[in-house]
Every structure is written in C-alpha cells, then in structure tokens.
C-alpha cells in the first residue's frame, strides 16, 4: 500500500464495523432481559470514547473527566424536572452546558506536566462533587428525586425492562461515534495526534497547540456530558456519585484495557469491564474487586496482545 492508500484506509469503514453496530443495535431486542446492562455499557462506552478523544488522540491525561459526565447528568435531570420532560431536548441542553463548562475548564489543563494535569483534573472533579453536595437544588447527598422522563420522540415510553433506554443510548453512542471517527480521521485529528506524539515538534511546524488542546477538551466535555445526560435520563435519577473519583478512575482503567488511540478501545473496554464486573460481583458479592485487581495485574504483566492468544503464554516468541 502506498502512503496515501494507507491513510485513506484508516478512514474507511471496515466490513466488520457495520455488522458490529447492527448487532449492537439489535441486542436490546434479542437479549431483552439484559437491556439494563446493555444500557449501562452503551453509556460507559460513550463516556470512554470522549476520554479517548483527549487521552488517546491528544495525550491529555485526565482523572477528572467525571466532572463533565456529572454536569451533563445533573443538567438533564434538572431540566427534565423543572422545565420539560422531553429526553432529546434535555440531551441537547446538557450537551451545550457541558461543552461550555469544558471550555472554561480547558484553561486549567494548558500548562504543566502530566502529573500537574492529572491533579488539576482530579481537583476540578472533586470540587464539582462538593458543589453538588452543598447546593440545595441538586438534592445534596441524597440525590435528585422526582425526575420523570417523557416518552422518547413522543412515542416510546421508558419501560421498566429498559429496552427503550438501551436502544436510545446505543443510538446516541452510534451518532457520536460516527462524528468522532470523522473528527479523528480529519486533518484536525491528525494535528491532535501530532500534539500527542511530540508537542515541541508540533509547535515548531506551526500547529496552534494551546488552541487545539482547548478545542478538543471542550468537545470531549460535551460528549461526556451527553453520556451523563443519558445516565440521568435512563435511570430517572442523579446523585453526587456521578462526580465520584472512582468514575473517572474506572473509566481510565477500562479505556486502557480496551486500548487507547483507537475509538473501539472505549467500546471494547466498556463491554469487557462491565460484564466482568457484573459477573464477578454476582459470584462473590464481597470480594469481586480482588479478581478485577488480579485481572488487571495479569493483563499488564502478560501484555494485552498475548492475553488473547493463549498459545503464546508459555515461552512463545512474540
């Protein structure tokens, strides 16, 4: 393949991709009894894709991405409670507000080393949590009650089994995924990867690094806000737990498990992590964290690629 062909190739949709997405969209109907966890997986996958945009493609280390997730969740919940119960409008409002919030926060991540950024993002996330705890209209530590969602598109009620919710989340995920894919494969995306790989060199060839960082951080905030809004809308509930440090931490974990810098990494990681967590915790409700920890340690030691190929476990040459 020539250079040009391989660049184009990365943009095109591979054959398995539409198949995967069709299967995914069918799951709420085929595996109806698991619609709830499919919903959760779709939401976390969207959240992970947003983190991949900043972490995988631009190299911004963040452990506070939950700040935007929570922002979206509370916005959507408050909007549905006080203004209008329509889910799509609420989603739109949530995205707009989280994007604005992301623009403000992007000022904090511009300077400093990876560690600095890590700490700043953690700090922002924790401050948001304290704010949600303190302010009365957010319901404080008990969470926001009494959120009733209107039917989707005026027709599909959010049923107890969760099928509508799962389908809704999957569609939103697909839409954003397509947008993200276009973004990272565009020339804008190429500049992001240049910034990630070597910031100094990127600056030297005239890429406006600070502006790029700000823009992608803002965009990622909006996408994370969408994921948060989905969570609030499909569960009719928002609690300060959406800002918790463990949300950002778990997210980073599953993204790294799935593989960064590859949009499907977020989706894969979400699927693997959530299923493992659910399965393990139903086997040992108390000690499942041990097995997840063990899995992580083994994963890193053996290496992600080798884990999937058991024949390389014993003395095979890489």
């Amino acid at each position: 393949m020539t250079a040009q062909e391989s660049l184009h190739d990365s943009r095109r949709w591979k054959l398995w991709e539409p198949v995967f997405w069709l299967l995914a969209l069918a799951t709420p109907f085929v595996l109806g009894s698991h619609a709830l966890i499919i919903n959760e997986i779709a939401i976390v996958a969207l959240f992970a894709v947003s983190l991949d945009l900043i972490l995988g493609y631009t190299g911004i280390v963040s452990l506070g991405h939950a700040a935007f997730f929570g922002m979206g969740a509370y916005t959507a919940a408050l909007f549905a409670k006080h203004v209008m119960p329509d889910p799509l409008v609420g989603l739109g409002v949530a995205i707009v507000l989280s994007t604005l919030f992301g623009a403000v926060c992007s000022l904090t991540i511009m300077r400093g080393t990876d560690l600095t950024r890590l700490m700043v993002t953690i700090g922002v996330g924790l401050i948001m949590m304290e704010l949600a705890n303190k302010l009365d209209f957010t319901g404080g530590a008990d969470g926001l009650q009494g959120v009733i969602m209107g039917p989707l598109l005026g027709r599909f009620e959010f049923d107890l089994q969760g099928q509508t919710a799962a389908w809704y989340s999957l569609c939103v995920l697909l839409v954003f995924f397509i947008l993200a894919k276009r973004l990272v494969n565009s020339s804008f995306g190429a500049t992001l990867m240049a910034v990630r790989d070597n910031r100094l060199r990127a600056m030297a060839i005239g890429i406006p690094v600070t502006a790029r960082l700000a823009v992608i951080y803002t965009i990622a905030a909006g996408v994370a806000g969408a994921a948060g809004a989905l969570l609030a809308q499909t569960t009719s509930f928002a609690s300060i737990d959406v800002f918790e440090f463990h949300r950002s931490a778990d997210l980073k974990l599953l993204l790294v498990i799935g593989g960064i810098g590859w949009l499907y990494g977020g989706v894969t990681g979400a699927i693997v992590f959530k299923i493992m967590q659910d399965w393990l915790s139903s086997i040992t409700p108390q000690y499942w964290t041990f097995w997840i920890g063990l899995f992580l340690v083994v994963l890193v030691m053996v290496g992600r690629e080798r884990l999937i190929r058991p024949w390389t476990w014993f003395g095979g040459k890489k």
Partner: protein, 391 residues
C-alpha cells in the same frame, strides 16, 4: 491485531450474556436483598446478610408451600447501581420482594421501581424519614433518625440537665434529619443550640470540628455520624480533653455502634445515647438472638443493622404466611402493614398508615458488662412513632 482483541471481547461478552439464562419457577418465593457489601458501608451489608441468613436458618426456607430463595446483590453504595440491580431483580429474576438498602439515596432511587412494578420494598437499614413516603410499597424495619434524635433531646433537656448544646452531624440526609429534629425538640424544651456543625462525608479528620466545639463551650455535644465513623469521633473527643472541659457527649446510638463499641476502650464509658437496639437489651428473645448470631458468625456481635435485617425477614415471612402465597405484591404489602411482634429489640409494630416502624427508644449508657463494653439501657420512651411524619 486490534480487530482480534475486539472480536474476542465481543465473543466473551455474548457468551457471558447468554449463559445467564434464568428459569422462573412457580413454587419459589424470591427475596432480592440489595446491600452494600463492599466500600465504606460494607459492615452494614455484612451484618444484615448475616442476620437474614440466620433467620432463614432458624425458620427454615419453606413457607406457605413455597421455597424461599434469598438473592444477595452488592450495590457498592452507588444509588444508580442499586436502581439497576433492583430493576434486574424485578424484571429478570422476578423477585417477590425487594429488601436491604444500606443508605438513603439507594432506597430513594429504588422507590419508583417498587411503585412501577408493585413490588413490596422492605428497608432494613436506611433511616431518613422521607423514605417511606417515596413509594406506597415501602415498608421499613430499621428506624428513623428523628425517632432517636427527639428522644435524645427530651432526655438531654430534662434529666440530662443540659442547657447549651452544639450539634455535629454528617452532611447527608439522615444527618440533616437528626440535626433538625434534635434542634427543634431541644429548643422546644427550653434549651439553646449554640452552633450546628455539619461534617462532610468524606472526612479523614474530625479534629477541626471538635476544636470548634471546644471553643464554643457548651454543656453537651450531640453527634450523629454513620455507623463506622463513631469510633473516630469518640477518639477525637477524648484526645481534645472535651470530657474534662465539662462537655458531655450524647447522640444517637450510631456513635456507640455495637459493631465497634468493644474496641473503643474505656474512654467511651459513660456516653449516653438514644437508640432502638442494644445488644445488651435484657430480654429473652434478644439473648437467644445474640447467642445464635455470635455462634453463626465467629463471635461477631450483632448491631442495630442486623436487627433491622432480622426483623425485616420476619415481616416478609409473616406476610407470606398470611397471604398463603396467593395474591401479588399488593396483597403481600397489605399483609405487612399492621404487623406487631416481639423483636430482639423489644416490642415492634409496623404502622398501617405510614408503613414505618414504631418501637421503643431506649436511653443507654456505655458500661462494662461481662468484661465487654455494652450499651446498657436505663430508661425507655415507649412506642415512638416517627416524628418526621406526625406533622
């Protein structure tokens, strides 16, 4: 390469999902017990699970011709996980009753599901007043903070001889309930609240708050913190020399939680609390309960969480017997209302109107009994209804 990772992941996913097939059986009665088994409130989950299992061991698992099955799930104290687990239990496992709920947000999040699916929900731990109003299907067997706080305020003003008190509570639903009801009642009884402090939930150090209390020089300090944090408060209280400065420590029984009390050391002696259950409660029913519990759980002492779980199971069993296994959720719920029986804590009654628990609140002092520290009851206020509702 990446394609392979991803394909294998999806293969794993599909396998996992399809292997979780659930067969519904007509002759089983399923109880979905959702508890925090990991995380900060894990001791709550542990106590309740142990108590529920003890009850089933003592009373068998066949009731009204049906086999009782207990399904335990860990919600890690995250309310949206609780909600999802409840939804799954109702839709997939088709449970007949939901139970547990370690913290208020978990209970509140699940209430709409109980209403929508007409499944009775037995709250065995969470203690904010408003929970029973969140759904007509909620029944509570734990207690409410106002019950304990109001009783404490009455005692403090009258027999405790306190005039100025500072309140120190954790900043969340039950804490705010405790503060409000104690304050209102204490002022009603003629006392003054010098200051009301709220401590954030995620607090590694009580020191600055207690220092503030010290500087305010009250007669007494009323404390509410979730079970587990009581020891830290006690230690700081003593370290700051507050007892020597003439400040008496009072509070709801959560600060002298039986789970931790014996390890708190002699500094805890003399602390007066108000609560619905003490492991040292001198009744025959309780002695049997405590002994059986200790035997089944390597000497672990049951606390008020355990008794909430134990009584919750009894309410479920009695309701099942009364309906003879017929009728749906509503019939079961109606059979739960108005139940009255002798619990290890004393006499107990589920109010038919509010579906909340009515029981005695005891005033207890920490004393050494049989070589161990215990909450020894010295006074009682009988049949306390939840003041949070009788407005």
């Amino acid at each position: 390469m990446k394609k392979r990772v991803f394909l294998s992941a999806s293969a794993v996913a599909v396998m996992a999902l399809s292997s979780a097939a659930v067969l519904a059986q007509d002759n089983t009665f399923k109880i979905g017990l959702i508890l925090p088994m990991t995380g900060q409130q894990a001791s709550t989950g542990r106590q309740i699970e142990a108590a529920a299992k003890l009850f089933m061991a003592q009373n068998g698992d066949m009731v009204a011709g049906k086999k009782v099955q207990l399904i335990v799930k860990d919600d890690t104290s995250v309310p949206d996980v609780t909600k999802r687990l409840a939804q799954e239990l109702v839709v997939n496992d088709k449970v007949n009753v939901l139970a547990g709920f370690g913290i208020t947000p978990s209970a509140l999040a699940t209430a709409p599901i109980a209403t929508q699916s007409k499944t009775p929900m037995v709250v065995m731990a969470a203690a904010t007043s408003s929970i029973t109003q969140a759904s007509p299907f909620v029944v509570r067997t734990s207690f409410t903070l106002p019950q304990a706080s109001v009783s404490m305020a009455d005692w403090a003003a009258a027999k405790g001889g306190m005039k100025k008190v500072v309140t120190l509570v954790s900043d969340y639903g039950p804490g705010i309930d405790a503060e409000k009801f104690f304050k209102d009642r204490f002022i009603f009884n003629g006392g003054t609240i010098v200051e009301s402090l709220r401590v954030p939930m995620r607090n590694p150090d009580f020191a600055p708050f207690l220092q503030k209390v010290r500087d305010a020089k009250p007669d007494g300090l009323f404390v509410f913190v979730p079970s587990g944090a009581g020891a830290a408060v006690m230690k700081q209280f003593l370290e700051r020399g507050m007892d020597k400065a003439g400040i008496k420590l009072i509070g709801t029984g959560d600060i002298t939680d039986d789970d931790q009390l014996n390890d708190m050391g002699d500094g805890a002696l003399g602390v007066v609390t108000a609560h619905h259950y003490a492991a040292a409660h001198p009744s025959a029913t309780n002695k049997k309960f405590v002994e059986a519990f200790k035997k089944a759980n390597k000497g672990m002492r049951p606390n008020f969480m355990a008794v909430g779980g134990y009584d919750g199971m009894r309410v479920i069993y009695e309701a099942l017997k009364a309906t003879k296994g017929q009728g749906g959720g509503e019939a079961l719920l109606n059979a739960m209302k108005g139940q009255t029986f002798e619990s290890p804590r004393g006499p107990m009654f589920i109010d038919a109107q509010t579906r909340d628990v009515v029981h005695n609140i005891y005033l207890r002092k920490v004393e050494r009994q049989g070589g161990e520290l215990h909450n020894v009851e010295f006074d009682v206020i009988k049949d306390v209804k939840d003041p949070g509702k009788s407005k």
